[in-house]
Symmetry: D2
Amino acid sequence: MKFFSQPFRIKYSDTDQMGIVHHSNYLKYFENARISWLRSVGVSYKKIEDSGILMPVVSASVEFIYPLYFDDEINIEIILDELPRATLIFDYKIFNQNKKLVCTGNTKLAFLNSITMRPTRVPKNIYNLFSGSLE
Amino acid sequence: MKFFSQPFRIKYSDTDQMGIVHHSNYLKYFENARISWLRSVGVSYKKIEDSGILMPVVSASVEFIYPLYFDDEINIEIILDELPRATLIFDYKIFNQNKKLVCTGNTKLAFLNSITMRPTRVPKNIYNLFSGSLE
Amino acid sequence: MKFFSQPFRIKYSDTDQMGIVHHSNYLKYFENARISWLRSVGVSYKKIEDSGILMPVVSASVEFIYPLYFDDEINIEIILDELPRATLIFDYKIFNQNKKLVCTGNTKLAFLNSITMRPTRVPKNIYNLFSGSLE
Amino acid sequence: MKFFSQPFRIKYSDTDQMGIVHHSNYLKYFENARISWLRSVGVSYKKIEDSGILMPVVSASVEFIYPLYFDDEINIEIILDELPRATLIFDYKIFNQNKKLVCTGNTKLAFLNSITMRPTRVPKNIYNLFSGSLE
């Protein structure tokens, strides 16, 4: 059920003059982890968009527990909360190279038709793949 | 009590391939509004940092209600929830050029000593300025 | 012939841990100045894209002369080099609040058909507007 | 002499509404390749900064040959032009997953004392490591 995205190093350009990662970047880290998670269950987000479905973030929350620094190597744990209906909810935990929990968060995503920009059903094949990931 | 930051236009580089503003940028918009708010009550965030105090974001949450597009002109309403103790909580509302509410959110900030990176008291002169802003 | 974009303040999130603006942001400042310049000669870049033409940057160069800091107020001078043929070349100068020249640069842009992603002619009406701007 | 940084996938948040990577991100890709190159010759850029030396970019130029798309897997070739004196010059080539050359560029970096923000000599031990990399 839990998935860990491939560890990666914090980029210099993600820092700000506080000497730590700017807080807006954590939403990008969550997004990358989500796209990796999708890939791990056999879903290419690129292909989802090519098929006419967008998955925008409709809400997000983040707790910043401990700073991230340039060159830190981080792991992101990501969990899909439940089978998707109109929306998908993911929970995230970020750990640094010392296995310290530095951040928790969650995001809710919707499924939109890319032409009408209106909510759409979760495609059956995606639903099935997600369903498999929850077993 | 309510403060509206100066309206500004959405930058091209803030969009992503969905054709809308990438959700991570809203945290930057909140930050800019916060810094404008501080300036409006007589506080330069630059001078706060120069005096050895950092105000990192310790938690944030955002509801994305309606997309923002390139060239939209937005207004941000920002409210300080209560007088600062160890932390400061701000609430935000973003409106587009049609006065449509497109986003709500809040952030909690801490006061840190920039040398020790440990929590510190709110400086008296800042407390007083904030206090005046709540009257 | 010379155009100055509206002065603006450097955002906190544009800094990195060197305590100055990360160099990649200057290309965004150039882009914003370019879009303002277009607006000043009566061209909405948003409408250009809506009409099926993209104007990607095909080359860029930047000299970083002096650092930019958080809260600096900058002016960007932008000049269109010559009437557009297949490409457009703009020159830029960035000045800080002390009127110090902090950066020079230039960018070359192409005109692409947004469907075919192939080079396309400069639309007549845009050519005419640019032409007027050079007088 | 030539070094290839570890291939990586283009992030969703690096795209803009043209559907391709925003051009400002290439300077970040160059920076990441540079930091990887330093690591490969035994230099931690983090430690360089900790020792009181900054290496800001003083000029950059980029040719954008072909677009980069979300989920592309790219390789960056990086070459140090010559032994550092007051500055370091790197040349870059970016290739996509089809081995297509999509971008070339170069950056010049200076060595600054982080306290005085004035130019400083290349530290002997760094010079020696770079020297070894050119053999």
